[in-house]
Symmetry: none
Subunit: 218 residues, 4 copies
DNA sequence: CATGAATGAGTGTTCATTCAT
DNA sequence: CATGAATGAACACTCATTCAT
């Protein structure tokens, strides 16, 4: 669709869009503002993208591509859980540091509703959902993880913790919330957070409980 | 701030606001729409609330009050972790079912930025952050929980899992995401999710690891 | 649809719209300009009319109503052709003088195309087309008009002459064109034009030709 | 004004312009669209024509040239009214069939206003106005036409009927209007319309009335 | 010299907020 | 007091015109 735009300029425009959408959401971001950030005129946006929604999708696809790049490097090498999780955590921490606005945009996207939300969720989460579920199921089959868990739900919990970690690095609200727990901004480049999260995950994933405590109705 | 409004009408107005903000966010929700939902005129809104932001804050305070009611009932009785967590989970599941729009509004709020975000986070998360951190620290001191953990970070992880659970019950995006993991909507009234989450938490919180695996630089 | 607007203001708004559409056409006229002419804000227009096209149709209906008022007064009393035509001509001359912008708007409408044009033509011309055709057919049956004519086509020619007369009174282009024929603006309040047009029509409608001249292919 | 363009390309560009102006009017037609239709770039348009209005005038002059060609062939041979009118009608019918967009453009032009309208009217109608008025005056002097008419006004009525005929062949609105009178599209290549119009004209132009009916004030 | 990408003022439409009734 | 009509700034999107390549 793009012809004369250099790849560089194209990226600059998309990054400007991602920043705007990250700050204000799909509805709140203004095309004029995006153009100004990117150093172009509104006309250019409408030359290459049919409308705001189309441009938004282009930003999303652009961002997903770089996210997938990062994940590909990690998920190639099968590993023990701790190594695997540690690599993913550090990869996502890096991604958060370098592409905070992408994470913020994803977070904005989670406020979507209706069928639009469903399509976005599938587009964004589909890859990791399968990735994590499959890995965990395989590791469970190999006997590396506890047998008494539903791999799908545990994968879900795993991803939940990772998502919240990213949001806590990038989104103002979650950063403030993190500070409430730890009394300050994210410390020491995330080293300690990483270590504690790994502890948390290792125990959760590997320690089988003697028996499921029986609970009657609430 | 309110004078002649009956308490009943006041609640109706605030609930209408919460629903609107839950659907569309602070910026997206329309004052005229809110007035229509509440069966009043816009004039009334502006009589009792100076502007949209002020009204939004009133909605938030109203919602926080009912959330604190729920939590108070649970957190009064000190308990073993499993019992404690189980009670909270079920309380939040109930709250999600009965007040989905409140949860969705909280979620919308997490997209705030700047100092506004900080103040909101403190207002909303302050209570639970202290609650969870203190409980966990005390339980750890009693020797009920593992000693090799940072109680603040583990409280943070604990709250992360609970927040995501609530969003996964109430917000369209997270519901769709949950379906990607579990191949359908939230099942059996959340019984199974609750059970698995408790397993996850119990192991994470009680099982001490032999040694923290040493990791060099990324 | 209108509630608080006085009938007076409503008319003022519609007249402002008619003037704007008369000058610039449906596409060329600006809602902001119309609001300014009517002494209101754009918001009012959009409160009472869903969009520009809807407002345009309201203007058209308003204008057609006043046109039909004028025609009703004339066409009630059946008359000999000359009296009938004379009355219509004078009524339309009056209408042109008092509601020039309406005529100019009709003229703008004739530039429509596609199905939109068809619907407009039926809405605007349907009444007069039937009126004239029926009158002429009846007068022909009574033996007052020549027998060797197709009443529908002659009604069509009759209406053509009337339309052009109105345009020649109201539209700048046609006024200038009229001046080319008569060396000045429309003279003496249209008395002479009326007299000559009646002569033209009377002969055309009443004089039967000896034989239709036979013509072969072009 | 044109330099390197072949005559062929020049015509193609002007025809593309005429079609666009015919469809959408001076204001509505888009320069980019015109360039696309003509298979050139917008830059070329602005190389040879200073702006849209200038280009529009070039289109108009081009069209007038071909219209004058057609009229010249007819009006050379002086003839009796019926033959003269018949030739003109058929010539205009042919022109309408072959150059419908030209007629539609003329029609669009009639929506002009102010001094712009005056200049256009003189440019377009000047020729025929003089042509018809002179012919009729001469024929009247020869005793072929009725003596009790104003040749200028009768020429005006004559041209009115011809203009409307052309519009009724080419413009969507007038086509629909014609259908209201005759219950369908223009029939049989216009043969019947031509015959009836000739009847109408012959009687109107040749039959002298006994006395002008005296009319007092309305 | 042709191209068509870039510009940016202008248009239709929405919505927070005010204020006459 | 309550109402909801009126205001007007803001935003998505278009298109005549320019100018770097």
């Amino acid at each position: 669709m793009l012809k004369k735009l250099t790849e560089e300029k194209r990226e600059e425009i998309l990054e400007a869009g991602i920043e705007a959408f990250a700050e204000s959401g799909l509805h709140g971001a203004g095309m004029a503002d995006i153009a100004r950030r990117a150093g172009i005129s509104v006309g250019v946006l409408y030359k290459y993208y049919v409308n705001k929604e189309d441009f938004f999708h282009a930003c999303l696809r652009h961002s997903l591509a770089s996210l997938e790049d990062v994940l590909r490097q990690v998920t190639g090498r099968e590993d023990k859980l701790l190594g695997y999780a540690g690599q993913i955590i550090r990869a996502l921490q890096d991604f958060s540091r370098d592409h905070g606005s992408h994470i913020r945009m994803y977070h904005q996207i989670t406020t979507a509703s209706g069928d639009f939300a469903r399509r976005l969720a599938e587009e964004i989460e589909g890859v990791t959902a399968r990735l994590y579920t499959d890995y965990i199921a395989r590791a469970q089959a190999r006997g590396e993880l506890r047998g008494d868990m539903d791999p799908r739900l545990f994968a879900f919990f795993f991803d939940n913790l990772l998502m919240m970690l990213q949001f806590s690095y990038c989104c103002d609200y979650y950063r403030a919330r993190f500070a409430l727990y730890c009394g300050g901004a994210v410390p020491d480049g995330g080293r300690q957070v990483e270590a504690e999260l790994l502890k948390f995950l290792e125990s959760a994933f590997t320690t089988e409980q003697a028996q499921i405590p029986h609970r009657e109705e609430r």
